[in-house]
Subunit: 285 residues, 2 copies
Amino acid sequence: MSTAMMGSDVAKAMKEHLIQEVIELKEKGIEPCLTIIRVGNREDDLAYERGAKKRMELVGIKCQVLELPENIHQAEFEEAFQKVNEDPKVHGILLFRPLPGNLDEGPVKAMIHPFKDVDCMSDINVARIFSGDEKGFAPCTAEAVMEMLDYYGIDPKGKRVTIVGRSMVVGKPLSMLLLKKHATITICHTRTEDLAGTCRNAEILVAAAGKAKLITKEMVGDGAVVVDVGIHLDESGNLCGDVDFDAVKERASYISPVPKGVGSVTTSVLANHVVRAARYLTTSC
Amino acid sequence: MSTAMMGSDVAKAMKEHLIQEVIELKEKGIEPCLTIIRVGNREDDLAYERGAKKRMELVGIKCQVLELPENIHQAEFEEAFQKVNEDPKVHGILLFRPLPGNLDEGPVKAMIHPFKDVDCMSDINVARIFSGDEKGFAPCTAEAVMEMLDYYGIDPKGKRVTIVGRSMVVGKPLSMLLLKKHATITICHTRTEDLAGTCRNAEILVAAAGKAKLITKEMVGDGAVVVDVGIHLDESGNLCGDVDFDAVKERASYISPVPKGVGSVTTSVLANHVVRAARYLTTSC
């Protein structure tokens, strides 16, 4: 039987540490602050926003939301964004994407201060993650996987780690974070010829393919660590991940559930990035 | 027995194509031009410079060299760089690195026009390669490997490709180029626990570890394609690669020699980038 990797436990441990860091910043007269920029009212943006606000409040980070109308013009959008970007009291900016179809994210990606870019929109942060520069902010979900492994004492160094999925929000940046920790990484995807065999060979398997229950028991090696980044509704309308949890848990040593797994850690990573951003922006780096 | 992948054959095929592209540009009144910026007189820079100049001449690209003294001050260096960067007649810039210790490459990396950045110095190009954006210029050596595979009709799609080495000039960008071609990629390095087994499992093996004759016959699967990016002097003072060529050639289906392998293709990739840069810079992209 496997150990379930509970996101709430990871988040709780991170919380204690974050509270301490926020206290230290406030003692120096710095109030860490996140601004969420939301265009329109998409339900999944609103859900994440509620979670993020709650998490920031829990650790003492100020969180404000700039709500912009869905039909805003590009010029006004850029102006509103730049105002936040230039505000010295704001340390982190989270812009919900994708933007409505009438807006182009290119100009704000180029504009955002790299230290305020707490969810890896800008080329500078992408390049930092690719090159292993510690000043970079990885996408929060990718880094949440690293926090999860770290909390459960799983060191990827030298290990065979297989990542299923090659997106810019999880697969690719996560592969770079793992490589920096000296894992031997393999990236699989829809065109991989022997997906089952490649997954089975992994000591740590990360499912980030975006396909419900893609990873079956036969695709998991005995005692492997399985981290599930997917989130879907199954045929009965219940939340599920990329992994067939009930079957795979019989074979894995550790396995993260969905819900209550990786998704419960992302806002803690976001809080951590805001704290780091506040530190970078108020010292001489 | 294996087929030797000869860099000169690849370069020759690229030459025919490049000559045609340069003629088309010249018919539109555009003379593609590369400026090489060299600080000091390092022998390996000079050797590459000779090869690059010869290659540009062969295909009809103008090539000029800006030679700067080794003891140049940062401000003068940046000024000289910016002048080339702003010159509308220059389409590609190749700066030899590493720079002498007294100079910081950061400002010119941030300054270089992304379309003139034909050897992937800037964050924008790094981010483009990472995200799979076709407008990006990969480091010439990484792309030379792709040209080699392409010339010999080896399609990496769906294949198990192992890359030994995780540098920013070969291993990492090459992994992204291969991923874009739908290979299943594995990145190994010094901390990989079972290097031999991981290499043996590959259908295509790329050695870019920077260690002479690291890859022995036992580390290569029967019929694998082996591409060698290393270049070293062996104990007898002869050039050799990361692969023990004489032994491995018995087992591989294709194998690139050193010298006369990948290294003979890099200046052709550089020429190709200059042609693309000239096209990008003179049209409305």
